[in-house]
């Protein structure tokens, strides 16, 4: 029996108008936050969550240990059947809404990212990275890229094919350099495009490419021969192209269900029609893709933090000490409250970023940095709370810790993203003289 001083019971002593103005109903923050969204986003969030809980969460631990390419492809087609893998274009070209293109372009991505990664960081990444692979087609501003290629890929997906896309920018000698203006100027690029009749010949290597092993389509960036990154051009490759092969697949600390593979290009012929956008516009396209993807990475981090928190809460609710659940103890409550607070703040920042009609560099980087650091703090705090149980795989918290760590690295390390924040706001908040 709760105490009469508990807010929910104390509320009863107020007159009706007072009760109307006093919300003490015990409801989850997930429900409350969802209610603040417009109906279309509410429904989307609910759909993403249902899918994640039914299809991703039950497989999370097993897929963290090992997963086959066929399993990833099968999951992709399941997600596609729900319309989740073709949302960058509105109906009838895809399964998104017109509003998506009219200023809500990041909302589906951030809502989906959080729900998928709250179930499993690795499987979530495997599904989400497809949108990253498709993004250059949409953001190139090239209608041909959208109507000819993106629509074609979406039709394949609608027909039930695992037409997974991947985004390929990172090279063995150029990681941070392909995500930072200053570094880009001196990037040691190895992937080169040589102009030939009716197309280009591409040679080189890309590394750490998410879904590199399972992708059918790849948006890949290459510099022209004897030129720097300013000549970067985006090409649309497909896995059947001669000379394109998958090299080494990395063994990662976390998010293991999504592969990170090397792509090897040995004089691959890419016809002119597969140039995405303008020749030489690849650097700008890359930067803008990151503007759109970094809020989603922020949402990935929120999801992973939530995963750690929810599993810690489950543990504390079900483990008893002195006849009471651990959640009844003040020290446990303090830590859980801290975690919950941080997750709420991180989500609020992601949703704030999604409200910008078009995401800009500082917005995306701020969301990415804050949320990934938060995910690390929350997941390691959850591990500490569980003591020795915290490092056991079966409680899912140590998996969340390993998954969280990657969010501080990919899509530009948090150090590079901090520099991107300042770069974006030079001429606004900041007044610095750039190097010539």
């Amino acid at each position: 029996m709760s105490s009469p001083l508990d807010p929910a019971r104390a509320r009863e002593s107020l007159p009706p108008l007072g009760r109307l103005l006093f919300d003490a109903t015990p409801r989850s923050l997930w429900d409350r936050d969802t209610e603040t969204l417009p109906r279309r986003h509410r429904k989307a969030r609910e759909r993403y969550r249902r899918f994640a809980q039914a299809q991703l969460a039950p497989r999370a631990l097993e897929c963290d240990r090992s997963v086959t390419d066929d399993e990833v492809r099968a999951l992709f087609t399941q997600a596609a059947a729900c319309g989740f893998q073709t949302e960058l274009l509105p109906r009838p070209l895809g399964t998104g809404s017109v509003r998506t293109l009219l200023g809500e372009i990041t909302w589906p991505a951030v809502l989906k990212a959080e729900e998928f990664c709250a179930a499993c960081g690795g499987l979530g990444l495997a599904l989400l990275a497809h949108d990253l692979g498709m993004a250059p087609l949409l953001l190139s501003g090239d209608l041909k890229a959208v109507l000819r290629w993106q629509r074609k890929i979406y039709r394949e997906i609608a027909a039930g094919e695992p037409a997974i896309a991947a985004f390929a920018i990172t090279e063995p000698g150029a990681g941070s350099d392909v995500e930072d203006t200053k570094g880009a100027a001196t990037a040691a690029l190895v992937t080169r495009a040589r102009k030939v009749s009716s197309g280009w010949r591409l040679s080189g290597r890309k590394c750490f490419i998410t879904n590199g092993r399972v992708a059918r389509w790849i948006t890949l960036f290459a510099a022209q021969e004897n030129r720097g990154i300013e000549s970067w051009t985006c090409f649309l490759l497909d896995a059947s192209m001669e000379g394109l092969s998958v090299g080494h697949t990395e063994r990662k600390m976390g998010q293991r269900a999504a592969d990170a593979s090397e792509l090897v290009l040995d004089d691959v012929f890419v016809p002119d029609e597969r140039v995405v956008g303008r020749v030489g516009a690849g650097w700008a396209l890359n930067r803008n893709v990151l503007n759109f993807s970094r809020p989603a990475v922020g949402a990935v981090a929120v999801g992973i933090a939530r995963c750690a928190f929810e599993h810690a809460v489950t543990f504390c609710n079900t483990t008893r000490l002195g006849g009471r659940p651990l959640t009844a103890y003040q020290d446990v409550q303090l830590r859980l409250a801290d975690m919950m607070t941080k997750i709420q703040a991180a989500r609020a920042l992601v949703w704030h970023c999604a409200r910008y009609r078009i995401p800009f560099q500082a917005a995306g980087s701020i969301a990415k940095v804050f949320c990934s650091d938060t995910a690390w703090e929350v997941s390691t705090a959850a591990m500490d709370l569980l003591g020795d149980h915290g490092y056991l795989h079966r409680h899912s918290v140590e998996k969340a810790v390993r998954d969280a760590r990657l969010t501080q690295i990919y899509e530009g390390t948090n150090q590079i993203n901090r520099l991107a924040i300042v770069e974006s706001q030079i001429g606004a908040e900041f007044c610095v003289t750039q190097d010539p």
């Binding site: 941070s176 990395e250 002195g322 020795d388 390993r402 150090q415």
Partner: protein
């Protein structure tokens, strides 16, 4: 041991880490575990791994050997720290074997490899105050030694007991008569003892971690050990984990420095970038401060258990932060198994969580601090 002997022994441990342990680390997610037994045998022969056998090379000066009981823990901690620069898991095996061996010093039983089962479920209720009562709660009421005439039986459960491979048995701390602490040797093949594997876990893969289920285990009179202060054993346990955490961090820092001196981004070596310098400098300072604190505590002959608890809580946190900063220097490569930094981070995080939740250790420090 006088300081020059400690320095020489420490240098020998460093060479052992570099020449024997490190080469086994290149294979598999956690190093070549198939070679673990060979490495530990070599550690025993080199005198780093202490056992209860007087004729074993490490009996006197190995980690938690006789000298640690007589001269204080400094030399033991230095050895553990050096071994951990190559692999925290191997260092942990040496640590637990040494703890087990030190508990059996002077006993009839002299296994080559033992361990100690001391911690209970570590669930501190808020009303405990004072170090002895808190330690009682820490060790837990889980295991009881019941005597009936000439027979004695052990019943209960010790969770999360660490040991190296081929552990022949455990020194179990149990509630004895009059609520006193009894120490009992339980061979690994004792009837009624079940070792339950804890399952897949994050780090320190070289160690075996089991729950000991003791179901009416018959205890011979010769296996009951003389009374000893559990606070000293707990303190040594925690200090050893601190030393391993620092060594693991130093190993990570070495990798990060080497990488920063070779990797070029932004037109120059990354060690010239402020962002990388801040990460490396942060890691250096955390490890330096932690090492200094540990040496300060280790300079005393008797282990101050309260200080050991505080160090364990604080220092493992700082070392984990140092390792994650080192990993960040390597960017995407740091996250991949091949570069061996993600393993160090997993080990660092495991060291932080094991053998006492950080919050419980802090509460132990706070509650006992009010006595001063």
């Amino acid at each position: 041991m006088d300081p020059s002997d400690v320095a020489a022994f420490t240098a020998a441990a460093r060479r052992f880490a570099d020449e024997v342990i490190a080469p086994t680390m290149g294979v598999g997610r956690d190093g070549d575990l198939a070679k673990l037994d060979r490495v530990l045998t070599a550690a025993e022969e080199a005198g780093f791994l202490a056992s209860a056998r007087p004729k074993s090379p490490g009996y006197d000066y190995g980690a938690w050997g006789r000298a640690a009981l007589e001269d204080g823990p400094a030399a033991s901690l230095a050895v553990l720290e050096e071994l951990a620069t190559a692999c925290a898991g191997v260092a942990a095996c040496v640590h637990f074997a040494g703890l087990g061996g030190s508990e059996l010093r002077g006993a009839k039983r002299r296994p080559a490899r033992a361990s100690v089962a001391i911690c209970g479920a570590q669930q501190l209720e808020v009303q405990e105050t004072g170090l002895p009562a808190l330690l009682d709660a820490w060790l837990g009421p889980d295991v009881k030694l019941a005597k009936n005439g000439r027979t004695a039986r052990l019943t209960g459960r010790k969770p999360f007991v660490y040991a190296g491979p081929d552990c022949e048995g455990f020194v179990v701390y149990a509630r004895g008569e009059g609520d006193r602490w009894a120490r009992v040797w339980v061979p690994a093949d004792a009837k009624g003892l079940e070792q339950v594997e804890v399952g897949l876990r994050m780090g320190l893969a070289a160690c075996q971690v089991t729950h000991l289920e003791l179901c009416d285990v018959a205890v011979r009179a010769s296996d009951e050990l003389p009374e000893a202060d559990p606070a000293q054993c707990l303190g040594r346990l925690w200090l050893g984990l601190c030393a391993i955490a620092i060594g693991n961090g130093r190993g990570a820092l070495r990798v990060a420095h080497r990488y920063a001196a070779e990797r070029r981004q932004g037109g120059g070596l990354i060690r010239e970038h402020a962002a990388v310098q801040l990460l490396l400098g942060g890691a250096e300072s955390r490890l330096a401060a932690g090492g200094a604190a540990l040496r300060q505590v280790a300079s005393r002959r008797e282990v101050d258990t309260r200080l050991a608890a505080m160090l364990k809580a604080r220092l493992t946190l700082e070392c984990a932060q140092a390792v994650t900063d080192c990993l960040q220097v390597l960017g995407g490569y740091g996250y991949m198994e091949d570069y061996r930094l993600e393993k160090r981070l997993r080990d660092a995080l495991t060291l932080k969580s094991m053998a006492g939740r950080p919050d419980d250790l802090l509460r132990l420090a706070a509650t006992t601090g009010s006595e001063r």
